[in-house]
């Protein structure tokens, strides 16, 4: 555990990181006999970029799925904003302000970019089915409000030129960006990114890195990301959790993690006894 005080700390580039917003306490996740996550604890602070890294099969995505409520761990607890979180459905977690993107893009291919982004506003709609059907009263007001928010995000991520293009026609890098837009439009306080740069070329990675930093900077969003590209992780993140075979083998700033012998061994492939 870092020695940072409960009130948070200030990063080298002058960003203020707040107190702990989410804490994972002794999480263990099993699928039958397979232990995917074994007794892992770490915390996430308000406004920080927190990376989870590790070799293939280390349990990173499972960890993200625990945070997003998709998996409920058999042991341990998730403390969110000072309170123990009971087992929840993903949509309930989403309502608490946690949004995510997926490793394999999960967009509606036949719908336009704008419509895909608008679906991210679902949690902000409360008009009745009748109002919706006749586009009347509350439904109309909500839609205008939601479109405005969607357009802000479209502008922010510079995807205006594909606003009306069906997602299926877009190249991979742009699809990833649309997915980020859909997650952002729900105005999350925590954003979970599952390998946001996988399969991208250098230029697309640079763009995406810039957007991740901008999101964090502009909206103060806490970001938890899983990523394989070590250069990207070390440049972007404030603190890094390293996992290997379901266990936590390192936790700290990128520099600390880089010097950690266990981490070096895991990445260089030292034999496990």
């Amino acid at each position: 555990m870092l020695d940072a005080s409960q009130d948070g700390y200030t990063t080298a580039d002058g960003r203020r990181i707040g107190g702990v917003v989410m804490e994972m306490r002794n999480i263990t996740l099993r699928f039958g006999g397979v232990v995917a996550i074994k007794d892992i604890s770490f915390d996430i602070r308000e406004g920080e970029i927190r990376a989870i890294i590790g070799p293939n099969g280390a349990g990173k995505s499972s960890m993200l799925n625990v945070i997003s409520g998709f998996y409920n761990p058999q042991e341990g607890e998730v403390i969110y904003r000072g309170q123990k979180r009971p087992p929840m459905k993903p949509y309930q977690v989403a309502r608490q302000g946690i949004a995510r993107t997926f490793q394999n893009i999960a967009l509606f291919e036949g719908m336009t970019v704008l419509d895909n982004v608008m679906t991210g506003r679902l949690n902000h709609m409360s008009a009745s089915i009748f109002d919706q059907a006749f586009w009347w009263g509350k439904a109309q007001r909500e839609e205008v409000e939601n479109r405005k928010k969607a357009e802000e995000i479209i502008d922010f991520l510079e995807i205006q030129h594909i606003r009306k293009t069906p997602v299926g026609r877009l190249p991979y890098g742009l699809k990833k960006r649309v997915e980020l837009a859909r997650a952002l439009v729900s105005e999350p306080s925590i954003l979970l990114l599952d390998e946001p740069m996988a399969g991208m070329n250098v230029e697309e990675k640079e763009d995406m890195s810039r957007f991740v930093l901008d999101v964090n900077d502009e909206y103060g969003t806490t970001i938890v990301l899983i990523e394989h590209d070590m250069g990207v992780v070390m440049d972007l993140s404030d603190r890094v959790v390293v996992m290997d075979y379901g266990k936590k083998i390192g936790d700290g700033t990128p520099d600390e993690v880089r010097r950690n012998q266990e981490v070096i061994d895991a990445y260089l492939g030292v034999a496990h006894d």
Binding site: R147, I154, D155, Q160, H161, L213, D217
Partner: protein, 658 residues
Amino acid sequence: MAQKDAPQGVPQSVPALLARNVAQFGSKPAYREKELGIWQNWSWAEAAEEIDAMAHGLLALGANRGDYVAVIGRNRPALYWSMVAAMKVGAIPVPLYQDSVAEEMAYVLEHCGARFVVCGDQEQVDKVIEAQETLHHIEHILYLDARGLRKYDHSRLHALKDVQAEGRAARERFAAELKAREAELDFDSTCVMLYTSGTTGKPKGVVLSNRNIILTSKASSEFDRLDPHDEVLAYLPMAWVGDFIFSIGQAYWTGFCVNCPESADTMMTDLREIGPTYFFAPPRVFENLLTSVMIRMEDAGAIKRRLFHHFLAHAKVVGPKLLDGKPVGALDKLKYQLGNLMVIGPLKNALGMSRVRVGYTAGEAIGPEIFDFYRALGINLKQLYGQTEASVFITQQPDHEVRPDTVGVPSPGVELRIADNGEVYYRSPGVFVEYYKNPESTASTKDAEGWVATGDAGFIEPDTGHLRIIDRAKDVGKMADGSLFAPKYVENKLKFFPNILEAVVFGNGRDYCTAFINIDLTAVGNWAERNNIAYASYQELAGHPKVLETIQSHVEEVNRSVAADPMLSGCQVHRFLVLHKELDADDGELTRTRKVRRRIIEEKFADLIDALYSGKARQYTETEVTYEDGRKGKISATLEIRDAATMAERAPAKVAAE
């Protein structure tokens, strides 16, 4: 403030024009910008208020008379306003090319000694901050888009919004001062300083006065009968004189509306939504549009494709005649109208050109078939010839006298003269004041009587009075046997083929001409896809034997056409090669406006030129390239050199391309 040559009642400065427009057109739209998916609208009165607030804000920041205010960014209303606000406080706006790399930008910033820099976004701010490591005269950086700039040190960095807010708060304090400074502006005060793109050497700062801008705008607006209901789309670089004349000069003179696209990538959609009535584009834009239309038609169904080609062929015969007001048979007219209903109209709409009343192209020669294509659609596309030093207009084509091979008659108020060596000289109210801090260049370009050398060689057609440009005067040379060498004349003919993006012809003082060719990756790539030719890179495609064969056939066609002109028949291309890399402004081979820098190319590829003249069949070469982020790398290739068939002089020639 009476001026000896100022026409009666003409406002003496751009801010004065703004005041007139507020009084005359107050609530009519002056600016539109698509933001958050919606076209936002500012009337003349609203725009004037924004400009006023900016001007007060600049005064609050301590702007002095004669300060230089650099403006860097894509076309956005607020950046146009910042230029007018700068004029109001007696400062001089200097728009810069937003895509120039940090060192180019640093040169210009240093040369003009800007105290203020207005940036569009973080990218530009970063470049200016980088330049500040060596430059110490930049006192304040203002920015428009705050994204990514939150955590920057804001002691000398300000959001334009905040500057305006401060200006509004300080209105009482500075109103009298601002009024006094505005009143000082007259026809002789500097309106704007624009840097030439610099085909040769370092960019030069062209100082243009209010007289230059206002009289030129007045004359050219009247020439094409522009009116307050016209609409333009402002999408060309703000640092280019054309954009300044169209989006500020003519817009303020006639009071028409300037529309700014949402982003560079949405230009085509925005064009369709706005439907401009007055449209300018360099030949390249028209070329790319035509290429994309043709490629998409190839993918259309058989019936649609046949309809398209049938009616287009008919329109090519009838359309230009209708535009020129020549007689057309009733049946032909009917068929044109049917075509208009089924093909031409929808196509124009898709291109965003349904409402274009006056369209201009300039900067480079435009291919005759490209020109004819747009005229066939009934778009009144014309050519003009101009320069930064002339406040754009030297010659332009009047309605009904439009031809692809001339650049038109002298614009109103312009006098033309052809020197003995063929160089074109002009004199007009638009002639620039001077090159900033460069009296030698000023003196060598503009003589005591106000005649300016264009640097282009050309002649005036005796029967029509139209000017024809052959080439850059300094590029026109002699072959070893004394015959005329005009490289651009041949290059343009080559470039008219969609497969050829760029060509550079050599031959000055030599026995015969040779050429470097760049293929057009879009067109050739599409062809390769259709013919199942796999390629991994530009280099691989450029070296493909089938591509070389196609290019060879193009070169030979050009030779046939060049041979038809006895004066220039020596310019036929005997040997050529297809370059292994695209000529690029980042490598210094082209200017930012994509003109070929001949000297630099000659030095850089000296080994290849030697090979062209030594009769070798292939040549190995290594070239340094600069990537977009400024890193440098090397590419190497072995290039095949081909011989092209040439024609004897005065061969009877019929060329498909013309």
